[in-house]
Symmetry: C2
Subunit: 239 residues, 2 copies
């Protein structure tokens, strides 16, 4: 292992995104290309809800470990983005607008009863990672947001074009993310460029991003297997 | 919710096994029926290794929480079964005899580098469950062993019959399990029959067994998707 410059480290991180980010997953291509049924899109939105709803818990777990006012203030904003400033606001609520628009019962969605076990285990692994690993690794694991504006643009335009059950209103979740994600990833990227100062720390940062890519990827593995291949596990949502 | 008698509780537990135990999974049927290639059996043994290797950690996590000498002595025996009484003994070692016999490099297997993320997340979820939930739920989550002698008999006879790369020696892991599993599950079943004394506790026991079934089931989902459907995620073992 050799010490990389900050630019080389960033290049390696972007390379991981190019190879492992879930925009390359077959389920994702099908979602964007209009090849899924409404029921399959329901399953995606229902399962992805658990990810959205767990992100504030993930961020609060990290917030509780951050050592300075500046870092905590920066990270607290992420929780505000997702939990909002009052009832009916914030990203989690906007995700429920999507599940509402797809005809899913809100209580059922929030109960997470019909979740795929693969979704639950992957999302919980992310929360545990942020709790158990170094602060550097925890911050680095958020760096998938470097790649999310591209996938969001593809997703919004593709879904609006292909599905008559999807409207701009039901996709309202994604609009603020186009500005929030770059702001957040700019901060996280600057942090890891500055704080990964040994080859070991740089490896930790690279591994954290690979881990996070595998969380998002395996959520789509589980969806594709259950709802495209039709092998729904016992107890999960049956459309 | 109504209070069940111990017999009724046991009947509900056995019902969960009949509906959700992984002997019903399509990958399992293919494994036993000789429909897999050697490479696919390698992928199964490689991924299942992480489960085997994590079981002593799971049991030690629970051991550390048990309140009495009697309970700890009972539970300690499980760790002895898996870790053995000296080098080259115990269940984890016997699993490596299987991966050796399948031609996998032992260092590679033990590194868990090629593991499917779905395997890692499911197995880690089991260890975390035993750490975070009540002792009653943690003990109940081991009750899949009620159903394992049947699957082991099917597995051993089916695999010996169908695969020329499998021998009695490579399947040596399973022989002691035919006596260990019933002994262990007898204890756990008696424990939950005695200690689940309210409807809420009984529900906790039933949910714990459902959870554990979903751990085993989702491991096979990930294998079937990656190695039978051919959608291997980035970074995982490529046969």
């Amino acid at each position: 292992m050799t010490l990389l410059t900050p630019d080389q480290l960033e290049e390696r991180l972007r390379q991981i995104g190019a190879e492992r980010y879930h925009n390359r997953h077959p389920f994702h291509r099908k979602l964007h290309d209009g090849l899924l049924t409404k029921q399959q899109v329901q399953a995606w939105a229902l399962n992805r809800y658990y990810y959205q709803a767990s992100i504030p818990a993930k961020d609060a777990t990290l917030l509780a470990r951050l050592p300075t006012t500046d870092l905590r203030r920066e990270w607290r904003r992420r929780i505000e983005d997702h939990d909002g400033t009052g009832p009916g606001t914030g990203g989690v609520e906007r995700w429920l607008v999507l599940t509402d628009g797809l005809g899913l019962d809100r209580d059922y969605v929030q109960s997470t009863e019909g979740l795929l076990p693969g979704t639950r285990f992957a999302v919980d692994a992310y929360v545990h990672f942020v709790r158990d690993r170094s602060i550097l690794a925890a911050i680095a694991s958020s760096l998938t947001e470097l790649f999310s504006p591209k996938i969001i643009s593809e997703r919004v335009s593709g879904m609006l074009r292909h599905y008559d059950f999807i409207s701009e209103e039901t996709l309202a979740y994604f609009t603020p993310r186009l500005t929030q994600a770059p702001r957040d990833s700019d901060f996280a990227l600057a942090y890891v460029r500055e704080h990964a100062r040994t080859p070991e720390q740089q490896q930790e940062v690279l591994s954290a991003l690979e881990f996070k890519c595998s969380v998002l990827w395996s959520m789509l593995d589980a969806l594709d297997y259950a709802y495209v291949d039709g092998k729904i596990p016992p107890g999960a949502f049956v459309p």
